[in-house]
């Protein structure tokens, strides 16, 4: 049996998973309308490439990735784009963001798509394909998967990189990964094989928490039938054991250094749902337009649905049967989820679970008392922080101190708030402190940029002044020379004039030197990586142009 390691802390909240695993994954009904946000992934929001009124096919690109960290957005079904405007999205801010509204025509007609032969694609082409298919991490972070697909280096003491497939699903109530593994284990294994190929990983570990015996059995069977050398490892059930860094620790004993990524130690981690959608993208050429979602909590029949991205949350919940005392809906689990800010919000790629909540299910918090420094939070913190100290400094807005106490290592898992006997919303304080620190850093950067631009402008003005003086001097000199040459040998130049000339000359040279010093780096000395990136961008541009001309009516130039 594979050796498993431990990490500090963790909690054991009631799992509440069995309610929603009684029935197989159902296909959700085609909704009346879909609202598809253009920002469904970490990084830059996608840029709309369709216009209101346009007819789109299922799987058609409607939002193109922009920038290095971004992903694509597709039409989840065929129909007409009725609007591209700002609508409230699932976000703790409750603020609106750019969305496309799609009215389905009921035909559900696919755009032309076909499998790709990934073994004969270059790494770059493979990444581009996944980026075009809008594949992002479905475990919750929605980090674009294409960026994670670079050949792995070897971890210390090993010959080959390690690929980890995350089927831990540690948060209570959520069962979408569990059901996916039970029902579509073969597809996940195929996806895993593709990832292993793309990463050239030697070792493949599939980690599943031991409270999902059916999923473990299904995955073991699929792996055995495929004959691939993957290992399905049952890991102890503990929250937050599904956090990528912690699962890596449990399975390999390696600790991802603070501020680093798993890839820096030769490990890469993908969620099972992501792995499944990678299989769909490569074996079928399908973009990511639907996902499995758990609908649970205060509903008549908690169950899992396969749902189109953009489906209104409440329309989906209704299919599981509304109950009258439901007072709010939570997207995600009870530990890290977000309360939906409005009844109109729709499902995104990140939505793994919808919990209909009632006062009986999630009772309101008892009154908050001061911190008594009991350190129950420190005992359960999976990152070994001192939450009581962090809270103290965040509360006092002493952000320098919060950073000294490793604020940014906090994974916001909520274990500290969960155990706090004073019911202090600790994580809210950390989130507040983090966003303040980030905003301040951004402000500082903007100020530094403004300073440089201002200094450069002063320099430029000075240089222009000198250049003018130089021209004027040259003109005078020419005039003088002409005067000297024509009538009679003139008197030798007077000393003061001479010194002025020299001074000007010196100043010009000085300015030139300074100008040369601040010259921006040009594009001649590029690393191969940068060149590859440029090539990638060029290729993407070409492809978008091609796509735009073939499927999308070009916006009229006027």
């Amino acid at each position: 049996m594979k050796q498993r390691y431990q990490f500090h802390g963790g909690v054991h909240p009631a799992a509440n998973k069995t309610q929603s695993t009684q029935t197989p994954i159902a296909r959700a009904a085609l909704p009346s309308h879909l609202v598809i946000p253009f920002r469904q992934h970490a990084g830059e929001a996608a840029k709309p490439v369709v216009q209101a009124g346009e007819y789109v096919l299922k799987g058609q690109l409607i939002g193109a990735a922009v920038g290095s960290i971004s992903s694509s957005i597709h039409a989840p079904t065929s129909g007409t784009i009725s609007a591209i405007d700002s609508q409230t999205v699932v976000h703790p801010s409750g603020l609106p963001d750019l969305c496309a509204t799609l009215i389905p025509d009921g035909k559900d007609e696919w755009i032309e798509h076909h499998a790709v032969d990934y073994r004969n694609l270059s790494q770059l082409e493979l990444r581009q394909h996944l980026r075009r298919c809008g594949i992002v991490g479905l475990g919750g972070a929605t980090f674009p998967s294409d960026i994670k697909l670079r050949a792995l280096k070897s971890p210390p003491g090993k010959n080959t990189g390690i690929l980890i497939i995350n089927g831990a699903e540690c948060e209570p109530y959520i069962t979408c990964d569990d059901m996916l593994m039970r029902e579509r284990a073969d597809e996940i294994v195929r996806g895993t094989d593709m990832l292993r190929f793309a990463l050239s990983a030697g070792e493949v570990l599939i980690g599943i928490e031991d409270n999902k015996p059916e999923a473990i059995a299904a995955m073991r069977r699929a792996v055995a039938e495929s004959g691939l050398p993957f290992e399905v490892v049952a890991v102890p059930t503990i929250y937050p054991g599904g956090s990528a860094k912690h699962l890596i620790r449990v399975l390999t004993g390696l600790e991802v250094p603070s501020g680093k990524l798993p890839t820096d130690i030769g490990v890469q981690c993908f969620n099972v749902a992501t792995t499944y959608s990678i299989h769909r993208a490569l074996d079928h050429g399908e973009p990511l337009i639907s996902r499995i979602v758990t609908v649970t909590g205060n509903v008549a029949q908690p169950q899992n649905f396969e749902v189109l991205i953009g489906t209104p949350i409440l329309e989906l919940v209704a299919q599981a049967g509304n109950k009258p005392d439901t007072n709010r809906h939570i997207i995600g689990g009870p530990m890290m989820g977000v309360q939906i800010p409005s009844d109109t919000v729709t499902l995104t790629k990140a939505t793994n679970c919808i919990i209909a909540s009632s006062p009986a299910l999630f009772p309101p918090l008892p009154p908050t008392l001061p911190c008594i420094r009991c350190t129950r939070c420190a005992e359960v913190c999976p990152v070994e922080l001192q939450p009581q100290d962090l809270y103290w400094y965040a509360k006092a807005k002493d952000f320098a101190k919060t950073q000294a106490f490793s604020l940014f290592d906090c994974i916001e898992c909520g274990a500290c708030s969960y155990v706090c006997p004073s019911h202090i919303p600790l994580v809210d304080y950390y989130r507040f402190a983090k966003s303040e620190v980030r905003a301040r850093d951004a402000e500082k950067q903007a100020a530094d940029k403004a300073r440089i631009r201002h200094e450069f402008r002063e320099l430029r003005i000075e240089r222009e002044k000198q250049e003018k003086a130089e021209k004027l001097a040259a003109k005078e000199k020419a005039a003088m020379a002409a005067k000297q040459a024509a009538p009679a040998p003139a008197a030798p130049q007077t000393d003061p004039e001479n010194t002025v000339q020299m001074k000007i000359q010196a100043a010009i040279e000085h300015a030139k030197e300074q100008a040369a010093a601040v010259k921006p780096k040009n594009t001649e000395t590029l690393t191969p990586e940068q060149q590859a990136d440029i090539a990638e961008i060029e290729a993407r541009r070409a492809r978008i142009r091609e796509l735009a001309s073939s499927h999308v009516e070009q916006p009229k130039e006027n």
Binding site: R39, A45, V89, H91, P92, S93, L95, P96, D97, P364, L365, P366, P367, T368, L369, P370, K397, I424, P425, D428, Y429, R431, F432, K434, S435, E436, A439, E443, A446, A447, D448, K449, A450, R451, R453, H454, F456, R457
Partner: protein, 182 residues
């Protein structure tokens, strides 16, 4: 008596030599205090402090000729930071000097006549355009100093307060009552 005098003089000479040596050895070029002050200032280069830019204001504070509460874009937090750095008391903003919400300039392109006056006024080169050509603000570079508003002969520049968006939203300070929420 004599020994004491001798000892004191010896100590004085030694310490003086050490001080003199350190003054040469650890000499710092420029004015580090002004640099530190300048690093705190928001670099809007708006001149609301009465100095032609942030650096001159920093120099003035360093020389002790300017108060620390004259920079509205820096906000009260800026004053607090300056007070901490200089070891002086916090001073609130005077009457009429108050920070405004962060904004960027916007040129109404239909009205702009292409006179370049705003381009010349912009302290951070955040306006593009040429004579008789329409001008436009590079919003990412604009510090919101408002120096372009006055020179515009057709008043085509307005300040747009930056909106809160999903991308720049900040978590609020948690407010929880100690008493039961009933």
């Amino acid at each position: 008596m004599f020994e004491a005098l001798l000892a004191m003089s010896a100590i004085a000479i030694v310490l003086g030599a050490v001080l003199g040596y350190s003054a040469i050895k650890f000499r710092v070029e420029g004015n580090p205090l002004a640099d530190k002050i300048d690093a705190i200032l928001p670099q809007t280069q708006c001149g609301q402090c009465g100095f032609p830019g942030c650096r001159p204001y920093a120099d003035a504070i360093a020389n002790g000729t300017a108060e620390i509460n004259m920079c509205p874009p820096g906000g009260e937090e800026g004053i607090h930071k300056l007070a901490d750095l200089l070891g002086v008391e916090f001073k609130p903003f005077g009457a009429g000097v108050e920070p405004k919400p962060k904004a960027v300039a916007f040129i109404d392109e239909n009205t702009c006549i292409g006179c370049t006056l705003c381009i010349q006024a912009c302290p951070v080169d955040a306006i593009t355009g040429a004579a008789k050509q329409m001008h436009t603000i590079i919003a990412a570079e604009c510090t919101g100093c408002e120096l372009c508003l006055a020179p515009c002969p057709v008043d085509c520049i307005i300040m747009l307060v930056s909106e809160e968006k999903v991308s720049n939203w900040k978590w609020k300070y948690p407010m929880y009552a100690l008493s039961p929420a009933r």
